[in-house]
Structures are given as C-alpha cells and as structure tokens.
C-alpha cells in the first residue's frame, strides 16, 4: 500500500505533501506507486482532481472526516478527505499494491470476518487495510490518521508566526505526520 498525503489551503494552495508506504504487515514504509518514478506528478494530478467532489460533499456532510470520496480506477487510486473547520483540506491518496502476491491477503481478510482465531483476526485486519481500501477498518484507520494530523495542524496554525495559507516547512511537523502514518496506515 502506498500513500500520498497533501494539505491544501482554503485557496487551493498545496501547503504540505508527503509520500509514504505502509508499515503494517511487514511493510517498510517506502512508497511504491504504480507509476514510474518519472510520473510522480500523477499523484498530484489525481488528488487535485478530486477537489470538485470534496467541494460538493462539504455542504451535504457536516462531518470533518468525509471518508472515501473518490476513486480513479485506471491507477486504482482511492482518495479520502478530511476538512478542517477553517477550510483547509487534508487529502490522502491510497493505492493498494499491484497483484497482491498469491492472493492470500483477500483470503485472510474474509476469514477474519468469521473471527475463528485471535491471531488470524489480528493479521487479517492489518492486511485488509492494504487489500481493501473501502472497508470499514480502512476508513477507521484513515480517520485516526487524519485526526492525529489535525492535532499537529492546529498546533501549527496556533503559532503566531504562521499565517493561513503558508507552506508548512517545520521538520517536526513532517516527523509527526510520518509517525501518524506509521501508527495507523
């Protein structure tokens, strides 16, 4: 599973972005997108194209976490959104790994639903995040991730030296986001 996370200011300026991979189920936390390295702009392209849907959804759903809102099937990219009350948008693009090896992760996910053994359930729930981007577990994990980033974002915004719409360059913030990604995704 590879992730691309970006924060957009209310005026659509990107103020922070980061790419990382999953750390669950033996992942090493390095993003491996399906695009070649020369085409990483595709991530930004896909994620920004979901803004129209975010702007539609933001007036029908009063929650801060809007869940999975957009899919780009050609790249198997799923996009989840979180809105801060002051209008900043957190967008997370997640892309399951290509060809889940031996297809066992799907089997594990379904057997975890039966809940036969505790060990299996634990492994199943971690791999189901990777295998099934729209499952309730994934939604919950993304929600936890977003909430944790929101806390760091509020701290940034409260700084008297930060003006809304400025790029977030603090290395501490970046570390915090990476840690949240490691913890939940």
């Amino acid at each position: 599973m590879s992730y691309y996370f970006t924060i957009l200011s209310p005026t659509d300026t990107p103020i922070f972005n980061i790419a990382f991979g999953t750390s669950k189920g033996g992942g090493d936390g390095i993003a491996r997108f399906r695009f070649p390295d020369t085409a990483q702009y595709m991530n930004q392209f896909i994620i920004h194209s979901s803004l129209d849907i975010v702007e539609e959804a933001q007036w029908t759903n009063g929650g801060m976490y809007l869940k999975h809102i957009d899919t780009y099937p050609p790249a198997a990219a799923y996009i989840s959104a979180f809105l801060t009350p002051s209008g900043a948008r957190f967008l997370l693009l997640h892309q399951p790994p290509q060809l889940p090896n031996s297809g066992s992760s799907g089997g594990l996910g379904s057997s975890s639903l039966l809940g036969s053994s505790g060990n299996l359930v634990a492994r199943g729930s971690t791999s189901s995040i990777a295998a099934n981007p729209t499952s309730p577990q994934t939604e919950e994990a993304v929600r936890q991730f977003m909430t944790e980033v929101y806390e760091s974002y509020v701290k940034t915004a409260m700084s008297p030296f930060y003006k809304q719409g400025m790029e977030i360059r603090s290395p501490v913030f970046r570390t915090r986001v990476t840690a949240a990604g490691k913890k939940w995704l």
Binding site: T60, G63, F173
Partner: protein
Amino acid sequence: MAAPPRHSAMLSVSNTAGTPQSGSSDKSQTPQQPSTPQPTQGLRVPSNRKTIYDRHLNRSRNAELSRASFAYLFAEMVTYAQRRVTGIQDLEKRLNEQGYPLGLRLLDLLFYRTTTTSSSALSSSSTSSSPPNRPLRILTLLHLIHGPLWRLLFGRSADALEHSVSPDTPNEYMITDNDPLVNTYISVPREMNQLNCAAFVAGIIEGVCDGCGFEAKVSAHNQPTEMWPSRTVFLLGFGESVMEREKVLERAGIK
C-alpha cells in the same frame, strides 16, 4: 500565559532546516547541542527541547488570563491601530484586521477542543464518539459564535441573537453583548463617540464566518441602554453567495 512557552513557540517555528546563519548561531548559543542526536540540522530547539508540537493544546484550556494584562495589551493594540489613521472608520477597519486572523485560529482550536473532550467523555461508553459538525447553515454558525466561541473568549455566552426584521436586509443578523470585555477599560473621547473598539471582536467573528465558508461583513455598533451603557451590537451581513447557498441547502433539507 507565561513568557517562556511563547518564546519556545517562536524559536521552533521561525526557523527552517538548513539555513546557515541559524545553524551557526545555534552553535554559539547552545554548545552542547551537537553532542545530542539531531536529525534536523539547523532547527533551533528551545533549551527544554520542547517544540510547540510537544505541548498539549488542552493544557491552557481552563487557564485564566489576567484581566489587567489583557487590558494593557489591548490598549496598546488600539494605540498601534490609531497611528496614521484617517478617521474612525479606518481605525475600526484596522482593529477588525487585527482580529480576523485570530478568528481563523480560534475556529480550529474550538473544534479540536470539543473533539477531544467529547471523545474522552464517551470513551467509557465507547459509543460513537462523533466530533461536532462543521456548520453548514447560517443558524448553526450563529449558534456556534453565540455559544461556544463566546465562552472560549469571554467565559460566558453572548446576550442576544437576532435576525433583522427589515425585509430589505434578510442577510443581516445581530449578536448583542451587554458589556463587552474589550471595552471595559476604554473610555472613548466625546468627539469620537462613533468609535467602538469591539471592532476587534467583530474582526474575530468575521474570521470565524469566513473560515467556515460564510463570506460576511461584521461591524460593531454602540447601542447603549440605561442599564447597559456599553451595550454593543455586532451586525453580521452575509454575502450574496452565502444567501444563495442557504436557499439551496434549505430546499435539500440540510440542517
């Protein structure tokens, strides 16, 4: 709030990684720093090694600010705004601009605090700990300002919330404060009796409205009564786009 935390917030944010001059001043000020593992070179960390990200946002939640220091600071802000102004309107505009960024920040802080309290309160029952909703309609926004925002700022709710009765201005709403804290220690000279320094608070309200996506103009007006000589009315005029969206949302039945 005490002085050292402010200082630490300054140090951690005002520097970015890799600027040579901050790196060199770093060494001269804290010689012990290179010995400790430091992943981000050039970032100046305060001596207690705590950045703003290590401080809990709810720590100062119930802390009270000294009214004397607030009055002093606010008096200085008014003096600052009064420099090189052309008139009362200009002065009020400047005060408004000082409050605006505060409103944007308070909005995020307010939601963060309600989220964390509601989740901790509900953690025992572990039912749906849903965070508060963003305001979508004008009325929910006004209740947010009238209640939670006012309590966060002044420790009590505002005194009244009214809708304009005139059919020409359906986009105008009024929030009344009988005795605004900001005006407690301000005596306005007779020749400037139109001035209301609560324009600063109007700026905060404007920031909150704008942050939520409700474009609005907010102004403060004196409306003294016998009982409340410094009674202030905040007039909120929402923009055309907001009123249009309000109609669409009303038809869609969104609360």
